[in-house]
Symmetry: C2
Subunit: 320 residues, 2 copies
């Protein structure tokens, strides 16, 4: 259980020889969600040994190239791999036209159906809800229409406490009702409360993605109490004026949002290429909010109630 | 002098974790020409330490994604780098719309002007001609409108044979006329023929790019006598039927075109990912045409009249 987040790209603006632009893969309740898709995302997904067929939902925050120029290439590869499962793409209104124009020019129709869900950038919006999770978008404040995304697990049912059930001599055929939350009544009429027969399910977890955006007090309200907040931090404090001018954030501003939102952890990224040392972002953010991670490409962040474990997924023999 | 060709990507269909799709950089007479622009081309250009500002002409053969999905990202990076020099892009009719739709969606206008020159896929066409070179397109036979490109140096003027000029006591002020091809007449009225005072200029070189295409006898006619022909060879002989069906070529067919065209050298590429060993393509082609090179990514092919020199440009400490 828990969420696994893989950072595929954490650079802003433009890929460099060893950095990729924004893309993340979130694994939640056995589902794979791709968040943004900068140029080269499909290459990074391969390097992280991701099964492409597991991705059924793609979320695009906004139409600046560093957040979606890898999308049509990935969709094209899905087609070449013979995918048949439908794919849902959530993003701004123009995204559908951009994608379809390119497929039409190639004289190609995809082997699978694509569904486009248009995001609203002025109000929060539930995009998809199942028994297991809810995914919504929320407004961000950037130069063009931009949304963040909030991924929330739903609470699972309580699980049977087998030793307790055995101790009360409960027959297997009654387990079903107990898992549904019912108390149990013995043949003698004695009622055993459900809480004595079941265990608490793991607490549901949540992840919020906020990029690109300038600092705004509204963000904290949208992501209140989130387990992990990814908030862009394009600049350090030395470029605070530049951050405002370009409608981006500094590491301190990202940390301020995390603090205001009472997030459990903060992950920062979308670094400007002018900073070679990413620890500077981390240090500046820590002055405001202690539980900070500076996102690193091809690292997996395994999120549980107990905390975050970080490990590298980079192939040992890397690309030539 | 000579041509330098850098192979940025030589894979077909889709990038893999260690291969890039089609893109090449040709350096001819101090000019940089980018030929096709698969996803990740800008990353490869950086790894080859190319000055982006030197690229003023981009040629796109056709609108299958593996030949142009890196274009809009590169154009966007040019903008972010503050480019002001105009850029000319040669390609199929729909290319302009595809590019501009994406810039419009980002609310961005480029810092430089883009000129789109539409290629015709049914007849050969001179695209650009200067004192130094001629670049034309020629029809290829593929599933959608596709052209090859032919880059031809023009002959340079003859150069002064300084020792010969000195021996005849020719004053410096007359050098100009001699370089223009005139004979020289001494004060005594003796005429020295130009050939005795000048040296042959280096023979002009030429490069042809033919991808994607199935085998057709027409290709040889378009590239007759070319110094280096790059011809796609997606498959080996075992997949000859598949090559025909998908309108691609085998290594043997590429070699046949080189032979029919009396090309001096053949470069093959656009390999299907099913073949891990590229030497197989080379071996099969050599049975038909001896001077074959299997294109390798991030290798530079320095082309002179005397032959081709090959060297790796891959950074020593490669990307993480």
């Amino acid at each position: 259980m828990g969420l696994d987040l893989i950072i595929l790209g954490a650079a802003s603006a433009t890929p460099t020889s060893n950095q990729y632009t924004t893309a993340q893969l979130l694994k939640m309740r056995e589902h794979y969600f791709l968040i943004d898709c900068g140029e080269g995302t499909q290459k990074q997904l391969r390097r992280a040994k991701t099964k492409f067929s597991r991705i059924n939902h793609i979320f695009i925050s906004h139409l600046h190239g560093d957040h979606f120029f890898g999308l049509v290439g990935l969709l094209s590869t899905f087609h070449l791999l013979g995918r048949t499962a439908p794919l849902t793409i959530y993003g701004p209104p123009k995204l559908k036209e951009i994608v379809l124009t390119q497929f039409r020019a190639a004289g190609t129709f995809t082997s699978y159906s694509m569904h486009f869900v248009v995001t609203q950038h002025k109000v929060p919006q539930v995009l998809v809800e199942t028994d297991a999770y809810t995914i919504s978008s929320f407004p961000l404040k950037h130069r063009i229409a931009t949304t963040g995304f909030l991924f929330k697990e739903k609470a699972l049912k309580r699980t049977l406490n087998k030793p307790a059930a055995d101790a009360y001599g409960i027959p297997v055929c009654d387990y079903h009702w107990i898992k549904e939350g019912k108390n149990w009544i013995s043949d003698e009429g004695k009622e055993i409360p459900n809480g004595a027969l079941t265990l608490d399910p793991p607490q549901p977890l949540s992840y919020a993605f906020a990029s690109d955006t300038m600092y705004t007090q509204d963000t904290a309200g949208y992501v209140e109490g989130v387990d992990v907040l990814y908030h862009e931090s394009t600049f350090c404090e030395d470029k605070k004026a530049r951050a405002k001018q370009t409608m981006h954030s500094t590491a301190v501003q990202a940390a301020t949002v995390a603090k205001e939102a009472r997030a459990k952890h903060l992950l920062i990224g979308h670094y400007s290429a002018r900073y070679t040392d990413k620890t500077r972002f981390e240090e500046e953010a820590k002055a405001v909010f202690s539980k900070v991670y500076a996102a690193r490409e091809l690292y997996q962040y395994s999120i549980k109630q107990s905390g975050i474990k970080v490990k590298s997924l980079a192939p040992k023999k890397d690309e030539k």
